[in-house]
Structures are given as C-alpha cells and as structure tokens.
C-alpha cells in the first residue's frame, strides 16, 4: 500500500514534509471550520453537478477535501512527458483508423475491435481534420501503486469533464489557506482557460478570420456537467450555445444572435457524437444541430474533439495502448498500463471467470463507475449475476486486478485518515504544440477502503499541487 504522504513506510516523502508539519500544528476545529466554509462557498458559487435518475440530486455538491495532494517537480516532469507521448499516439491512432488503417493491417489491433465498435463512425472515413488532430482535449486518468511509476487507468478522448473543479478547488484553497501557500511554491493552474482558448483558435478552419468565432456547445442546464460548461464559456469569453442556438445554411454553421446570424468557426462541443446531428446520428436528438455534420465534412467548421474519437478510449482498446504507442512513435511507453484481460479472447475469459472474486470487471463502454464489479467487495449473488453477463456477452467486458490505488491524507469524520485517490490531468493538443497545465483533478474515495472515486458514487475532490522546482 503506497501513501502519497508517507510512502510505503513511515518516512514522510519530501514534497509533503511542510504539509505534514502544518497538519500537526493546525487545530482540528480550525480545519473543520474551513471545511464548512469551503462547502458554503461552493454552494453559493453554484458549483454543482446532477446525478441522473435521482430527482433529489438535481444539483448536488461534490464533497471537497481541504488537504491538498502534492506532486513534486520531478514527478510531474515524468508524468508530463508520458502524457504528451500518450496523447500523440492516440491522435496518430485515430487518424490511422479513419484513413490507411496500417495498425489493423499489421495485425496489432484486431479489426473487429474497430469495425464492430459502436462508437466507430464510418462517416469519418477519409475525412480530413485540421492538422490531423482529433483529440484536442484529453483527460487521462492516472493512478499510482508505488513511488516509482504512473499508471494510466483510462484514456478519456471524447468529452472529458472535471477541469472546472481543478480551477475552483485552487481558488477556494487560496482563499482558505493562504498561510499554507506561503510554505510552498505551487505552480499555478489559472492559465488553463487561456491555454484552452489558444488551442481552440489554433485549429480553426482556413475559412475563418484571424479572430475565429469559438463557441462552447452544451446539451443544456439539465446536463450533469452544465456548471462546468457555463464556467468554461465564461472564463474563455466565448458564447455558451445550445443546439437550438445554431443553424446550418449552405454547409456553414451560424449562431442566432440579437443582431442576426453570425458565423461559427470552432465548436468546443460537450455533447456526445450520438446527439450531435439528428440527420446523421440519433434522429430523436433534440440537443443537436441538423446539418452540422455536413458543414463539418465541408471543412467550414472544426469540432473539438473530432467526431469518432471513442474508438481510442474504450476499455478494450486501452489494453492495446502500449503497442499503439510503440507502433506510431517507435518509443517505449513512459506511462504504464494496468494489466487487462480482454474477455473477448477465450483464454482471458476463462481466466476471468475462474478468478472473478479477485478482479475488477468493467464494461468496455462504461463510465462514471457504473456497470462495474469489484470482485473482493461483492457478495456471491452479485458475482453470479456478473458471471452470467460475462458469458452471454464477453466482448462487452474487460477485467483488471483489484489495484491498491495510492492513498492521501483526507479530512473525514474520524479525523485525518488515508483515502484512495486518482488524478485526471488535462492535455490540450493544438496546431502549434501540446499544452498541459501543471495539475489536474484529484478525485478521492471518501468511504474507508473504497476504491471508487467517481463523484456519482460518493467520491470527492482535492486540490492538486505541482511544486515549482
């Protein structure tokens, strides 16, 4: 068991020494008071998310833990290089899948994993995207099992969320604990909106003016991440549009304004492929924009992320990522992969069925901690039910060992105690370069022993400090 503060033994790791001293000095009731102050601030600013299927949780707060998670400059350097490498490989892979398909011809990734994949978009075959970038915004979920290396748990290449918490958590911490910041040199994250805007502008189509019109497309106020959408649009200084605000004429996308129609060049869309264009994808979608795909094909508008990026981030493709990195970049992967059994393969399936009590079984397209089985924490009946599901549709599942995610000191009812954490840094890919703001969203499983960090399942968040030098 690896703890971010105490390592594997009882020596405090250097990056945490000041924090550890501070935690020893600070009175418990002060910490508790600040914790409640933080909650009040979050409530007032209106930072909420919705939990689907729970009418009482239309607007719920994500619990915020006031003890930061700290990453040393050296660790971050390694992580950053690994993230750049990973995202470059993902972009190269998606381009290949929708054009020459060399990786399939070389037999490295099985064809049916691409062509039978429900998120593979034949509409994207042969489609050019500006500067061959598909995933402009990636959220790569990172975990640690020891002090030496970082593991990728999941690549989010569609519409990753959570960055607003990274920014707001820092604001709240600066407000509540100025004295703690005076003991550390923490790299700032507040330039993320600028970096994101620069990235989005850099991928504008050639038809756009030197000041391209960038908009953020949201499914609307009922979406679970709506707060983040409005937050980002505000910080970027761009319009927050819904599908009904956009209209397509002669393959050009316009937005309806009080002064008439205005041309749109880049759309940072936070709406899934399925709902983007009722003429091409789900015809019942009321959230999308009829004709937007046709404008996209004509190259008059750039969508970020591109359509069809899901072929790179499902959990079955994940297991091939080390090979994908080697194939396109000719490099050894810097970030490790968690060993993964693909239930689509008979040998793997029988291993998983035999050892299911010790494994975590996940749906290939699941997210948010839904549709997964944690073997060691499940009762016999649940396991039996999952076994049946596995047998009837093995392709839909992968399995991984139950990992002891690293822990980090966290304020809980019983005082300060270790809780499991992960980390989602955000990687921006533009025409000119890749930008990664030093930090990310640290999610923490607040229940003792729990490994599920998802906010929909009782997870909280922490501020993430990357030390500067």
């Amino acid at each position: 068991m690896f703890d971010e503060m105490n390592g594997s033994g009882d020596a405090v790791r250097p990056a945490y020494s000041e924090l550890s001293t501070w935690l020893g000095e600070v009175k418990p009731d002060v910490l508790d008071f600040r914790r409640r102050e933080a909650e009040l601030l979050f409530r007032r600013i209106g930072i909420t998310f919705a939990v689907y299927g729970d009418p009482e949780a239309q607007e719920r707060l994500i619990p915020f833990d006031v003890i930061p998670r700290i990453i040393s400059a050296k660790e971050w350097e390694l992580l950053k290089r690994g993230l750049e490498q990973r995202v470059k490989a993902i972009n190269a892979y998606i381009k290949d899948v929708y054009s020459r398909r060399e990786i399939l011809k070389a037999g490295i990734v099985p064809e049916d994993l691409v062509f039978q994949n429900p998120v593979f978009r034949p509409e994207m075959n042969g489609q050019k995207v500006p500067h061959d970038i598909y995933v402009h915004i990636a959220g790569i979920d990172i975990i640690r099992l020891d002090g030496d290396s970082f593991y990728v748990l999941e690549d989010n290449a569609r519409t990753p969320s959570g960055v607003s918490y990274m920014l707001e958590n820092r604001e709240i911490m600066l407000r509540l604990f100025p004295e703690l910041f005076s003991r550390y040199r923490v790299a700032p994250v507040e330039n993320y909106p600028d970096e994101l805007l620069a990235t989005l502008k850099s991928i504008a189509p050639q038809s756009a003016s030197s000041e391209p019109n960038v908009v953020l497309l949201t499914p609307g106020v009922y979406n679970s991440a709506y707060y983040e959408h409005s937050f980002l649009a505000d910080k970027l200084g761009i319009e927050l549009v819904e599908g009904r605000d956009l209209v397509v004429k002669s393959d050009v996308v316009y937005m309806r304004t009080t002064e008439g129609l205005k041309r749109v060049d880049v759309i940072y869309r936070r709406i899934d492929d399925d709902f983007l264009d009722p003429l091409v994808f789900r015809p019942d979608s009321a959230l999308g924009v009829p004709g937007i795909m046709s404008a996209y094909h004509a190259g008059s508008v750039t969508l970020a992320n591109a359509v069809g990026t899901g072929v790179a981030d499902d959990k079955a493709v994940y297991s091939y990522m080390p090979e994908i990195v080697k194939f396109y970049l000719g490099e050894e992967p810097i970030l490790k992969n968690v060993p993964t059994w693909r239930c689509r393969e008979a040998e793997h399936l029988s291993y998983v069925l035999d050892n299911i009590e010790e494994l975590v079984v996940k749906e290939v397209h699941g997210s948010g901690g839904y549709g997964m089985l944690i073997g060691p924490k499940s009762d016999k009946a649940t396991i039996a039910a999952f076994r049946a599901k596995l047998k009837s549709d093995p392709k839909n599942f992968i399995a991984q060992p139950t990992l002891a995610l690293s822990t980090c000191p966290t304020c809980v009812e019983e005082g300060i105690a270790p809780r499991h954490v992960d980390l989602r840094p955000f990687v921006l890919s533009g025409r000119d370069r890749i930008r990664i703001v030093p930090g990310g969203l640290t999610r923490v499983a607040l229940k003792k022993g729990s490994l599920v960090v998802n906010s929909s399942q009782g997870g909280g968040t922490k501020d993430t400090w990357v030390l500067d030098g």
């Binding site: 409530r43 209106g46 106020v221 409005s230 937050f231 649009a233 505000d234 927050l240 009904r244 009080t258």
Partner: protein, 313 residues
C-alpha cells in the same frame, strides 16, 4: 449576443418583477381583509386578488372558493400556478442558470440566494406573522436582485434586454390592477368619499407602492381620478404606464443604436408612448377607462411579441 441569452435575461427580469407584484397584492389583501366589513364592504377581496394577479381562470380550475387559505397557497406556494411566487423564483433561477455567463456575480448571488432561501419556506407559513415576514422577504429579494443588476451590470445590450423585461412586466401589472379595480375609480357609482372607497383606493396605491407618492404629487385627499392619473399618466411615478413606456422607448432606442437598426418594436413603443403623452385623464374617463386599459394591455402584449420577433427568436 445570442438571442437565447437575451431571451433568458428578459424573462429573468420579468419573473423577479412578477414575484414582487404578487407579493404586493397579497400584502394589500391581507390589510384589507383585516379591516371591519363596514370599511371595505362585502366584496370578496381574495377573489379580487386572484383576478389582479391575472390567474382567476387557473385558480378556479383548482379550487372552488377563494379565501385566505386557498389564495395564499395558489399565489405564493403552488407548483401548479406558473405565476406563483415560488414558480417565479424557480423560473427566474432557471433562466439565470442558463445565462450565468451574462450575469454579474452579484446578480447570480442575489437570485441564487433567493432560490435557496425559498426552500426554507416550504409549502407555506404556519401563521399570519410568518406569512407577513415571508412577503417582506420576497420584496427584499426582488429589490436586492434589481439593485444588483442596476449597480453591477455593464450598460450594454444584456442590461437593456433585462430592463425591457422589467418594464413590460411592470406595465402589464399596473394595467391589470387598473383593469380589475376600474369600477372603483369611476366617479359617482357610489357615494364618493365614503370610507369604503377610501380603503379600496388606498389599497390600489399600496399595491403599486404609490401611497406616499400620491400625497407628494397631489397634496390632496385620495380622489379616484387622481389615482388613475398617477398610475397612468405621471412620468415621475415609477410604476405608471407612462414611466414604463418612457423607459421602454429609451432602452429600445439604445439597442437600436448599438445594432444600427430601428425596427417594429421601436416604432410600436413610440406610438404607445406618444398616446400616453398626449392623453389627459379627463379624456380617458370620457372615452371609457375600461376601454383605454383594455387597449393598453393589448398594445403592451403586442410590444412583447414585437421584441421577441425582432430579437429573441
């Protein structure tokens, strides 16, 4: 600006204004019903309150009788009444959430706090005292929102559209109370100046928070035609139809200047404003107060439609 953003700002302002108006109606009705019958007559003030709020139809679909309990519930706390104070705040906040980026922090804070506070009141107060406190809270919440908008918003189209919402709603409200109570303002229906009329007239003034203003403007006892004059024609009275249209014309002109184009909404608002400027209260009574108000309400609705077609769709 996105048309939908303008639309949300416009409705946000309208709903907050409406919540305040409904609270004033309830407050005045509570006062009237606390008086001995000899002073106010035997009319059912609760029924009149529902009519003044403009939802008599919907009310009688849900209830058989208009009394303190049913009307209070329907106008303040009902989820079935789209214009209940509760729904006004719900809708205001929904519109606010949709345009958070166009609001200042102070405005968001005002409307979000009101919405959070609203939950504390639940489905209604347990006593008249508590209800009176509730009504005062509604007025404060509305004032605080309006004040934060006035103090913190940039003077650009976002502000002007939100002002349009305030004044169209306010004109509609003032016209509605005149429409419901017009018979009380007609001379010589009953013995003029009896206590019965006095309390009715003062309650009209109270509903649009104009009782003190009346005395300042006219320095006279309350006379029905002067009440009508104040609420219809006096520019200096902020809830008068004239004042609302002065502001509507001004804000519509600012929008037109910024966008470089006049349209049907500007022309229509100017026409209504000119009619108010050129009218005398004697002529209005001569030609029929009721007809005048009817026509105004329709004109005001037409302006709402024109603004929507020109900018919000």
């Amino acid at each position: 600006m996105l048309s939908r953003t303008a639309d949300n700002l416009y409705w946000l302002a309208r709903y907050v204004e409406r919540a305040e108006y409904i609270a004033r109606i309830l407050d005045t009705t509570l006062r009237l019903t606390a008086l001995p019958l000899a002073y106010v007559g035997t009319t059912n003030e609760w029924e009149s309150a529902v009519a003044t709020a403009g939802c008599a139809g919907a009310f009688f679909e849900n209830y058989d009788e208009a009394n303190e309990e049913t009307v209070t519930e329907f106008l303040a706390f009902s989820t079935a009444n789209p214009s209940s104070i509760r729904n006004c705040f719900e809708n205001a906040r929904l519109n606010a959430r949709a345009v958070r980026t166009a609001l200042t922090i102070e405005m968001w804070d005002a409307i979000n706090s009101a919405w959070l506070e609203l939950k504390r009141w639940g489905n209604g107060p347990s006593s008249r005292e508590e209800f009176a406190r509730y009504l005062r809270w509604v007025l404060t919440a509305s004032l605080s929102f309006d004040g934060s908008a006035y103090r913190t918003m940039l003077r650009n189209d976002a502000y002007w559209f939100s002002r349009l919402g305030v004044y169209i709603e306010r004109a509609d409200n003032t016209a509605r109370i005149l429409d419901v109570k017009y018979h009380l303002l007609l001379p010589a229906i009953e013995k003029v100046g009896g206590p019965l009329d006095y309390f009715q007239w003062s309650s009209i003034l109270r509903t649009v928070s104009a009782l003190t203003a009346y005395h300042w403007v006219y320095r006279e006892n309350i006379k029905p035609w002067l009440v009508a004059d104040l609420l219809i024609l006096k520019d200096e009275m902020p809830r008068s139809l004239a004042s609302c249209y002065e502001n509507l014309v001004q804000n519509l002109d600012r929008i037109a200047n910024a966008y470089g184009r006049q349209g049907p909404a500007q022309r229509h608002a100017r026409t209504v404003r000119a009619r108010l400027e050129n009218s005398k209260i004697e002529d209005i009574f001569q030609n029929g107060l009721h007809e005048f108000i009817d026509e105004f309400v329709e004109d005001n609705n037409r302006l709402g439609t024109a603004v929507a077609q020109q900018y919000l769709l």
